[in-house]
């Protein structure tokens, strides 16, 4: 799972008026700069609960294709109880992604019913909705001002889902760095209540693409946070379409 996978839902939410056109251009530029044919990394996910209980998971992530039409496979490698469990995500430009899960212990794949998209993603602080790649035209947005995040100057962009779009969030504040168009923070609100804050750090250029290698999601309601770290990150690696099918998922 990389930043693109996790935050794509917050990225491309842009249409609008003359003032909003700038904001849209900013986010479109951010999208273009992070575009790649494929991606691969080893991720470490650390969930810190309100009682400071920490759980750790590791996986290998592979993606093929670009925004809106990408396919990704995520295979858990640790802890031993979940080793071999895999997720196949097939994104669509016009609707929610299809997701399947493979559980080797019962040798079964299952379609993940993502109907309640506000549900937490396997006890992390991400929700299933946060995993989706979505059409930018389904959101309105406007430039909400400027800000400084981790010492870097940023544009602050407010995005709101259009009426046709159902979302647990009524608005989001997205901070985009002015120097490299990298998203460094997203605050998701329901009405005026902050639901999740996503903070991106350890920003490095990998294979020519500026990428945050650490993503922290904070849930103020639960007082918990999830930190995702990317290792062995590579872009545009040669991957085969056949490796992103249900059959491939079952092969392990």
């Amino acid at each position: 799972m990389n930043k693109t996978f996790l935050v794509s839902g917050f990225l491309f939410l842009v249409v609008g008026s003359c003032a909003a056109q700038d904001a849209r251009q900013i986010v479109t530029e951010a999208q273009n700069r992070s575009r790649s044919k494929s991606q691969q990394y080893e991720g470490t996910l650390e969930v810190v609960g309100s009682s400071n209980k920490v759980s750790l998971k590791r996986w290998i992530y592979q993606r093929i294709g670009s925004f809106g039409a990408s396919k990704a496979i995520l295979r858990f490698t640790a802890p031993p109880e979940v080793k071999g469990v895999a997720l196949l995500i097939v994104n669509h430009p016009d609707r929610a992604s299809d997701q399947w899960m493979w559980t080797p212990a019962i040798e079964r794949d299952r379609r993940i019913a993502l109907q309640d998209r506000s549900t937490r993603f396997f006890a992390t602080d991400f929700s299933f909705e946060d995993l989706e790649e979505r059409d930018v035209n389904q959101y309105d947005y406007k430039l909400a001002g400027e800000d400084t995040v981790d010492g870097a100057a940023c544009w602050k962009i407010e995005s709101k889902p259009k009426e046709s779009k159902s979302s647990q969030y009524t608005s989001s504040l997205v901070s985009v760095r002015k120097d490299n168009y990298v998203i460094v923070q997203i605050e998701n609100y329901n009405k005026d209540k902050l639901i999740r804050r996503v903070h991106y750090s350890d920003i490095q250029q990998v294979d020519g693409i500026w990428t945050a290698r650490s993503t922290e999601v904070y849930d103020p309601g639960r007082q918990s946070r999830t930190v995702l770290k990317l290792e062995k990150l590579q872009y545009n690696v040669p991957l085969k379409e056949d490796d992103f099918t249900l059959e491939a998922l079952r092969r392990g």
């Binding site: 209980k53 019962i106 993940i112 309640d116 396997f122 006890a123």
Partner: protein
């Protein structure tokens, strides 16, 4: 009120024992009514609560009877635009090896989407579920309720041994649900499991039991239900969760009806005791009534006094009955829950009783009305008392010849009407009318017949004991009003005993015949100890694996499940008909044995059980529309056979049809025939050796299955025995009441007897013989009327309610057994009153009244 206080209360206080006995009739009737209904309602309530709590925010449930359906149905339902969330469910009840825990209801759900419908309270704390991904990844994962965890001292990571298709497995607690709606389902003995793991654990293949769904905001539930029904076809039921409670009620309706009949009968017999008491009270208080009338009391006031007394008696009796009924319900709820679970194979767990205020109020009203109705005729008689005649002692004690003639004529007319109704019995309701008329005719004839029998018995009594016998017989002959109520109550009770006894005997005989003909395999291989439980199933591959075991000649795989036909869940039995007939050629009730089995074996017809045909109005050759997941299956009924697989009836079809239309090749039971020379014990051992390591199974011998079925039958008839006990108890109360009255009434007479030299033993014997005579009269009339009641029971209860045709056979054994029992009971009930007379003060007795 003033009259009640000044006139009634002193009389009641003086005859407190008699009034207590009178109240006992109402108490018992109301108690049985409240007890059985509350127990039944508690079981239903527990089932509904479980359904309701498990349903959560579910607005519609999709099922295909008990057969389940393919996984792809879920995709089709989820694709319906107005469906907000649709999730698969598997439900099963499994036994735990935890001490004292019994069964655990397992809810197999897909946790990735299910939280849209059910609140597991997993989000509220880190401890709720340790790791959802591990929960899904490991098929041994369970989430249990907080109460279950607490009771069994289980924490996250704790182990629970459960019976599965792979034998007993240890499951791991990976989550604990905090207390809330869902957690109290099934009495808190609930565990959640991943639905795909549940498929494997319970041998469901790639099928779900049902889909729970909620519609999108603004969408109409009815519209979505219609749309899904149109999409999936008639083989699926799309209903609100509450419909499951209604199905349970429909399946267990025979039990509810039995409860109604028992309590109605108890109240009806109780009515005679009240009638008797009031009749006696009116007789004893004639002088008092005469004085009141002479002082200017109107007839209405006199009637009001007696009716007022009956209201107070009814109210007191009903309230005591309520208390006793709740006690009965507490004892019976667990028993009825277990019985319904075993007979119908439907999981529920009733730990607490649920009292319904409406039922309580109804019971009180019923008790009071019964009391008032019973007292109405005596009250009217009291109002009509002529003040002059009232002060002349003795005249009132006999029924006038005119009164007797009127009763006989009325009885004759009513009996004729009853016969007319019987002749027109094709209109079912008329049979009920005929029975009611027969009871009325019998009651009208009771005084005449009682006198007749008492006269016939007089020489015998005289022979037995010249003085005491004659005195006892004359006491009955001279005061028919005093005894007719008790005799009527005894007669009705014994008639009920004879009818129920005959019914039980006929049912047993019929079931035994069926067992001998149809259930003749040597061994039965089942996935559950209970033959009615259908939570576990075997894969079809086991047929060949079993056949390969030395000593096995033939294996028949049987799949049974309830499928909804015209709104009622009907049991379907799918088996290899050709093989079935070869081994067990059940003679048809209707149809040609040669062709009907052939047609059924080829999948061109089905066979209906006799009770299904009778209850649902199907005849030989009728077409039956069977809803299947692949659409409506339209097949003729080629034959009607006797089959007791299910109380609501069953339909037998070839397994090939079931496999084709339900896409289901799983098996509930294997019927195993042995080769000649092979022994049950050896083959059973081989089967267990072959499979016990890899799957859960039970090998039952033919004797085991017979014992199991007969045990279930016994449990079912246990309720009948309760009816019999209530009937006998009420009758005994009637005798005790009558004797107490008789003795009080004749205290002076008995005192005079003692004063002129009558020995205590002679007085004792007189009372004993009087009691024995009442018992004998009631016995003779009851056994005779029972013969008629048995006929009606067979027509009404059997054909109309249970859908069975049983042969008429008078239960001589039961009648013979009743003889000493009733006479002994009559004798025992006479001991107290007799002793009270002989040990009482002679002076007081002579001064009495």
């Amino acid at each position: 009120m003033i009259l009640l206080r000044l006139i009634s209360w002193p009389y009641i206080r003086k005859h407190l024992l008699r009034w207590m006995l009178t109240l006992a009739g109402i108490v018992l009737g109301v108690a049985v009514f409240v007890g059985m209904h509350t127990a039944n309602q508690s079981v239903l309530y527990a089932f509904r609560q479980t359904v309701d709590r498990i349903a959560g925010a579910t607005q519609l449930q999709i099922s295909a009877g008990e057969t389940g359906f393919d996984e792809n149905v879920l995709d089709r339902v989820q694709a319906v635009p107005q469906v907000r969330v649709a999730v698969p469910v598997i439900e099963a009840v499994v036994s735990t090896a935890l001490a004292g825990q019994g069964n655990l209801l397992i809810l197999g759900v897909d946790m990735t989407g299910d939280r849209g419908l059910r609140d597991y309270d997993l989000e509220s704390g880190d401890a709720a579920v340790d790791d959802p991904l591990v929960f899904l990844a490991q098929p041994d994962s369970l989430i249990v309720t907080e109460s279950f965890a607490r009771e069994n001292r289980l924490a996250i990571g704790g182990k629970i041994p459960l019976s599965t298709m792979q034998g007993e497995k240890r499951f791991t607690v990976r989550g604990i649900m905090k207390s809330g709606g869902l957690t109290s389902a099934f009495g808190g003995n609930l565990a959640v499991m991943d639905v795909y793991a549940a498929q494997k654990v319970f041998g469901r293949g790639r099928k779900f039991d049902r889909i729970d769904l909620a519609v999108s905001d603004g969408a109409s539930v009815d519209t979505v239900a219609r749309r899904i029904k149109a999409l999936l076809g008639p083989g699926f039921q799309v209903q609100e969760p509450s419909a499951r409670g209604q199905q349970f009620e429909s399946i267990s309706r025979i039990y509810s009806l039995t409860a109604d009949i028992t309590s109605a009968f108890a109240l009806f017999i109780g009515m005679f005791i009240i009638y008797n008491t009031f009749q006696i009270a009116v007789t004893q208080r004639r002088a008092e009534i005469g004085i009141l009338r002479a002082l200017g009391a109107t007839r209405r006031q006199i009637r009001t006094i007696f009716l007022g007394e009956s209201v107070v008696a009814g109210l007191a009796g009903s309230l005591l009955g309520l208390a006793l009924g709740i006690g009965i319900a507490r004892v019976m709820t667990g028993y009825i829950g277990a019985l319904l679970g075993e007979v119908y194979g439907i999981a529920q767990r009733a730990d607490e009783i649920s009292t319904d205020p409406k039922l309580m109020l109804f019971a009180v009203v019923l008790g009071v009305i019964t009391s008032v109705v019973a007292a109405f005729i005596p009250a009217r008689a009291a109002a009509r008392v002529d003040p002059v005649q009232a002060l002349q002692k003795g005249k009132y004690q006999q029924l006038s010849a005119g009164e007797n003639r009127t009763r006989r004529v009325s009885a004759f007319i009513v009996a004729l009407l009853a016969v007319g109704c019987v002749l027109l019995r094709k209109y079912h309701a008329l049979v009920y009318v005929a029975d009611a008329l027969a009871v009325v005719a019998a009651l009208l004839l009771t005084p005449t017949l009682a006198l007749l029998v008492a006269r016939m018995l007089r020489p015998l009594l005289k022979l037995l004991s010249p003085v005491e016998g004659t005195l006892a017989a004359d006491s009955l002959l001279q005061a028919p009003r005093r005894t007719s109520g008790a005799v009527a109550a005894l007669m009705l009770s014994l008639a009920l005993v004879v009818a129920l006894g005959g019914l039980t005997r006929a049912s047993y005989d019929s079931i035994l015949t069926w067992l001998n003909v149809a259930l003749n395999p040597d061994l039965f291989v089942t996935p559950s100890e209970s033959l009615t439980a259908r939570d576990f199933r075997f894969p079809e591959a086991m047929v060949d694996q079993l056949r390969a075991i030395p000593g096995i000649a033939e294996v028949q795989g049987v799949r049974d499940a309830r499928i909804e036909i015209r709104g009622t869940p009907i049991m379907f039995v799918a088996a290899d008909v050709e093989s079935l007939v070869r081994r067990a050629n059940v003679p048809p009730v209707a149809g040609d044995a040669r062709t009907m089995y052939r047609e059924a074996a080829r999948g061109r017809a089905v066979l209906a059980s006799e009770n299904f045909a009778l209850l649902r109005g199907y005849k030989l050759g009728d077409m039956i529309d069977i809803p299947t997941p692949r659409g409506l299956l339209h097949l003729p009924i080629a034959g009607i056979v006797t089959d007791y697989s299910d109380q609501e009836g069953s339909i037998l079809m070839d397994r090939s049809v079931f496999k084709r239309y339900w896409n289901d090749d799983t098996v509930n039971i294997f019927r195993v025939y042995l080769t000649s020379g092979a022994t049950e014990a050896d083959v059973k051992r081989r089967i267990l050796e072959r499979f016990s390591a890899e799957r859960r199974l039970f090998v039952l011998t033919n004797r085991d299955v017979r014992r199991y079925i007969l045990r279930l039958t016994d449990q079912w008839f246990g309720i009948t025995y309760v009816q019999i006990a209530v009937a006998v108890l009420v009758a005994v109360l009637g005798i005790v009441n009558t004797l107490t009255v008789s003795i009080t009434d004749r205290r002076r007479e008995l005192g005079v007897l003692q004063a002129v030299g009558g020995l205590r033993n002679q007085i004792r014997r007189t009372i004993w013989l009087e009691a024995l005579t009442i018992g004998a009269v009631g016995l003779i009339l009851g056994l005779a009327f029972g013969a008629l009641q048995l006929y009606f029971s067979l027509v009404i209860v059997v054909e109309d309610i249970a859908g069975l045709r049983l042969g008429y056979e008078y239960p001589y054994q039961i009648s013979l057994a009743l003889l000493p029992v009733i006479l002994a009971v009559a004798f025992i009930s006479a001991i107290g009153p007799a002793e009270s007379v002989v040990r009482g003060s002679l002076v007081e007795a002579l001064e009495y009244e």
